[in-house]
């Protein structure tokens, strides 16, 4: 690559740096490591995108200066240019899922009525949801708190409102009492296996402690 980052990047239209979902996929992969990766490595690691599409994105992002390309034999090795003016914007986009988990944990830690357990499960936990997907939240209510306790309900409603404002996705709460959780542990319906396999614990006991180990 020749020239400086500034004279390559189009400063009049900086938002055009990222033009397609593949660009973001590629940047999420490169942002996650300091190790130089080949185009083939990146294509293997993206969630979606063919090898030619990934290679085209890498070449263009290298022209923009967001990605550094170094010749290595017949291939190129690519790294994220963390000094680029847009690097912090990429970091922000790539870290959105982690930020959601951080905010949720922070909010639940402040609840006046502490839950036995809260986790995200389903597509949001697996990372394969889209804009229409609900964010599935599994909540276990303490034994001494009734389902319609106003303080408890208010906590859950506020959490749902905040998640909607933060993400644009609705929250689907699956709420059970501590007694229900013991029954689920015995009966093991399909949802228990799903929670045990995918859930990201946000507060309280782990799914294994709560629901037992998988079969």
């Amino acid at each position: 690559m020749s020239g400086t980052i500034i004279d390559i990047m189009n400063l009049s239209r900086p938002w055009a740096l990222i033009r397609s979902p593949i660009d973001i996929e590629v940047m999420v992969v490169l942002r996650g490591t300091t190790r130089p990766l080949t185009g083939r490595d990146v294509a293997r690691l993206v969630r979606a995108g063919s090898q030619p599409a990934v290679n085209a994105a890498l070449r263009r992002l290298a022209e923009e200066g967001l990605v550094e390309a170094e010749e290595a034999g017949s291939a190129y090795l690519y790294t994220f240019n963390r000094e680029h003016l847009a690097a912090s914007a990429i970091e922000l986009l790539a870290g959105i899922r982690t930020e959601l988990e951080r905010r949720l944990r922070g909010e639940i830690a402040e609840w006046r009525i502490a839950p036995v357990h809260v986790s995200i499960f389903g597509s949001a936990a697996r990372g394969d949801g889209d804009t229409r997907s609900d964010i599935d939240v599994f909540v276990v209510r303490p034994a001494d708190v009734s389902e319609d306790d106003p303080g408890w309900r208010e906590q859950l409603d506020r959490l749902s409102d905040h998640v909607y404002n933060w993400t644009g996705n609705r929250v689907a709460v699956s709420e059970v009492s501590a007694a229900d959780a013991r029954r689920l542990r015995r009966e093991r319906p399909a949802i228990v296996e799903e929670i045990r396999r995918d859930a990201i614990t946000l507060a309280g006991r782990t799914p294994a402690e709560l629901l037992g180990t998988s079969k």
Binding site: G32, T33, L37, R44, L45, E101, A125, G127, I200
Partner: protein
């Protein structure tokens, strides 16, 4: 003599998911075994499972972020790979090295594992499992 370099093999997100499931399962069983105070060997068995869990989780994180994992028994190479994952790869690498330092003790039961050591070991395995899960969700 320790050979250096070339101790990695390619892998992908599917293999990462499989290794993470393995790590989660090992950690679950470790946590359950740790609670069984009636059997004297429980602590070393639980610690050994926690170490296995940490190694599998390290592989999962490396496969998901780098497309490579350490080959065979080269677990210390895995720590070097983990450091290349950002953010938080450094912390995961430290947790793995601490687990590996306990590996032989835990596996062979040479020295009794104290309750405190076991708690620390389980916590380190949990750090690695959570880290691998986070890397896979990126």
């Amino acid at each position: 003599m320790t050979k250096r370099g070339g101790r990695t093999q390619p892998c992908d997100r599917t293999q990462a998911r499989t290794r993470l499931e393995n790590a989660q399962k090992s950690l679950e069983v470790a946590e359950l075994t740790a609670g069984d105070e009636a059997v004297p060997a429980s602590r070393s068995v639980a610690a050994a499972l926690a170490v296995l869990s940490g190694i599998a989780a390290a592989d999962a994180a490396c496969c998901a972020a780098l497309g490579r994992r350490s080959r065979g028994e080269e677990h210390r190479e895995a720590a070097a790979l983990l450091r290349q994952i950002v953010p938080a790869g450094d912390r995961a690498a430290k947790a793995l090295i601490d687990l590996l330092n306990l590996k032989d003790t835990a596996h062979y039961g040479l020295i009794p594992i104290t309750r405190r050591e076991l708690t620390t070991t389980l916590r380190r395995a949990r750090i690695l499992v959570d880290f691998a899960g986070e890397v896979l969700r990126r």
